[in-house]
């Protein structure tokens, strides 16, 4: 390993260090606040490091990793999401858990896993990244083990994740058996040389199970709602954003390496899955009264949309990145509101609790509304250009079926977003809800960051050009 390679890995090393640092801080019995601030700084450090090494990219670290613009983009997205999740976590855990510190270890480890996924170009790194993410998530989901059926959610996630990992491994083994290599590009070369084989395709099929599980694609989506509901709100936000971004990144990299679009079977499978996601996700959400579950279903649908971009090949990558960015910001602000509204007893996931929020707390409701409109893909919010670019990608590749299903299902989707919005603006219940005034500083900071997120949504919604240009620029680095 050369200096250059180490340099390229610097952000990831910092990320790993963050977990260690937290352990040390715990060992030195530092307070929650200190850990939080340190973690925040470390994450900022990661971003800075990423910025610092930007010019040296792309850099390969054979055989496991490659750090290129694509990875930088996705890692940036992940770190950005984690920053917000961390912020949310503070006020969330401070009053709920007497022992919130290990949480940060797990959080940073999971982030590390997701970040590793974005740079992996080898089955081993893929697998380890994925497992690092999963194992941390088991614990994170069940972190508040006495509350909210967190343990139930944890067990469900664990069993299914382990199962899907088994599928992943078996699929990888089959591919390895066929090609004699676990490196994406080597696999592609081997396949080019030897031609496509049955085992190879079957291996891909099995890998789809694991990826599908992580991304909560139909029919591997069944866990999503339960886990979203059971997990602590910031963790849910984490699952919905970071873990999915990481997995999606590696999926795209793998697909690009082996030219997935040349396999009709894979295309068919993904098309069917995309359509199923869009339909099932949206339909399931229709009557849902639990906001977290509803967001779970909506995220199923959103990954259906995202698959449209994924299926459009190279043209779709930019769209997908943009979409993920918009989607993360949106979801983070939504979960931010849920976190802010959550009480000590339970998460604010019952829709009836949101009744008339606009008249009690206009700013919060405005943030939530903007987030929901963005999810629905309404102009002036980031969701609109995001969906637009995805449709552009789809139409460009003449995927009319997908495009039309996307359109029609987004219409169904509108209904439930509007349902929440209507609730926010409905007449408030008579009993006044007491305002929480704990931790004024962090409370304020969270609030402020949510406002920033909202503005970001609006800014991207109105002027997506900046992001588009930058994404393009980054994607050219490879």
């Amino acid at each position: 390993m050369t200096y250059q390679q180490y340099l390229a890995l610097l952000p990831f090393i910092i990320l790993a260090t963050a977990a260690i640092v937290v352990i040390l801080l715990i060992a030195f019995r530092q307070s929650h606040t200190v850990i939080q601030v340190t973690g925040f700084m470390m994450m900022c450090g990661v971003v800075l490091a990423m910025w610092y090494v930007r010019d040296t990219l792309p850099r390969e670290i054979p055989p496991l990793f490659v750090v290129d613009g694509f990875a930088a983009l996705f890692t940036g997205l992940i770190i950005f999401s984690v920053l917000v999740v961390g912020l949310l976590s503070y006020i969330y855990f401070e009053e709920r858990e007497e022992n919130p510190k290990e949480y940060y270890i797990l959080l940073f480890l999971a982030t590390l896993g997701a970040a590793v996924l974005t740079i992996s170009r080898h089955f081993i790194s893929l697998f380890i990244g994925l497992e690092l993410l999963s194992v941390s998530l088991y614990a994170l989901i069940a972190y508040l083990r006495n509350r909210n059926n967190a343990v139930e959610a944890g067990v469900k996630y664990l069993v299914l994740a382990a199962l899907s990992s088994a599928f992943l491994l078996f699929g990888m083994a089959l591919i390895y058996m066929e090609t004699g290599s676990m490196e994406f590009s080597a696999i592609a070369r081997a396949i080019d040389a030897a031609g496509m084989s049955v085992l190879f395709v079957m291996g891909i099929g099995l890998i789809v199970v694991a990826i599908g599980f992580k991304l909560a694609l139909v029919p591997f989506h069944l866990w999503a709602a339960d886990v979203y509901q059971g997990a602590p709100a910031p963790v849910t936000a984490f699952i919905a954003t970071v873990s999915k971004i990481g997995v999606f990144a590696v999926l795209v990299r793998f697909a690009e390496a082996i030219h997935l679009e040349t396999y009709p079977l894979a295309v068919t499978i993904f098309t069917v899955i995309a359509i199923a996601c869009m339909i099932v996700g949206n339909i399931l959400a229709l009557m849902q009264q639990n906001v977290k579950r509803l967001l779970a279903y909506s995220s199923i649908a959103h990954f259906g949309y995202l698959l449209v971009a994924f299926l459009s090949g190279e043209a779709g990558v930019g769209a997908a990145v943009f979409y993920l960015l918009a989607y993360s910001i949106t979801l983070l602000s939504a979960f931010g509101i849920i976190t802010l509204l959550s009480t000590q007893r339970r998460d604010a996931d019952d829709l009836s609790g949101y009744r008339g929020l606009f008249w009690r707390s206009p700013l919060m409701a405005a943030i939530f509304t903007v987030a929901l409109l963005s999810l629905a893909g309404i102009p002036l919010t980031a969701g609109f250009p995001a969906k637009f670019f995805i449709l552009t990608a789809g139409v460009q590749q003449n995927m009319w079926l997908l495009a039309i299903v996307l359109v029609l299902t987004s219409v169904i989707g509108l209904y439930y977003y509007l349902r929440i919005i209507s609730t926010l603006f409905a007449a408030p219940p008579l009993t006044p809800v007491k305002e929480r005034t704990l931790h004024p500083f962090f409370y304020f900071a969270t609030y402020a960051s949510l406002v920033v997120l909202m503005c970001l949504l609006a800014w991207i919604g109105v002027y997506p050009g900046f992001i588009v240009e930058n994404v393009r620029e980054f994607l050219l680095i490879h």
Binding site: A16, N99, S125, I128, A139, Y143, N146, V198, L199, M202
Partner: protein
Amino acid sequence: MSTLFYISSLVAIASTIMVITRYHPVHALLFLAVSFLSVGMIFLSLGAPFVAALEVIVYAGAIIVLFIFVVMMLNLGRETAQQEKEWLKPKVWVVPSILVLILLAEMTILLFQGPDQAMQVSVVDPRKVALSLYGEYIIAVELTGFLLMAGIVGAAHIGKHQRKELHRFLQNGEEEKARQLREPESVTNEQTVLHD
């Protein structure tokens, strides 16, 4: 060599069937040990002595012990067996089994569709593995450390329990938590030792 493979394969499959059909947890775990051991034999027959040893030590040794430990701790004995017997009615397992068997059949067909390679046995010695592990895959090893750390921290946190009323078997919970912490660590140690 291939005789060894066939015999151990049959043993592995048979004992695995036993694992999933046993009512008593301890019985099942014992069959699991058998299964792991026979898989270890298969490894040997495939020319991978190093992993064969690891299979025996870690899987059959550490992991099964961990299971047995929990089984013992929760006192999953005859009552559980009785319960399992009630749960495992044919109507519960028939449909899933048929589905899975269909899957098996399909996968088998696909396996045989693929080019049939004659099984060749070439020994990959531990040295080669070690070089590879600490050569190109060194970062992966480091990451595995983090993976295990996640496991430890997670298990440690979740294993704690705040309830005032403790189950009678769990009154000395602290101790048990400490043990749990220890188990995964032992795995890391073993690895480190093995690669030295």
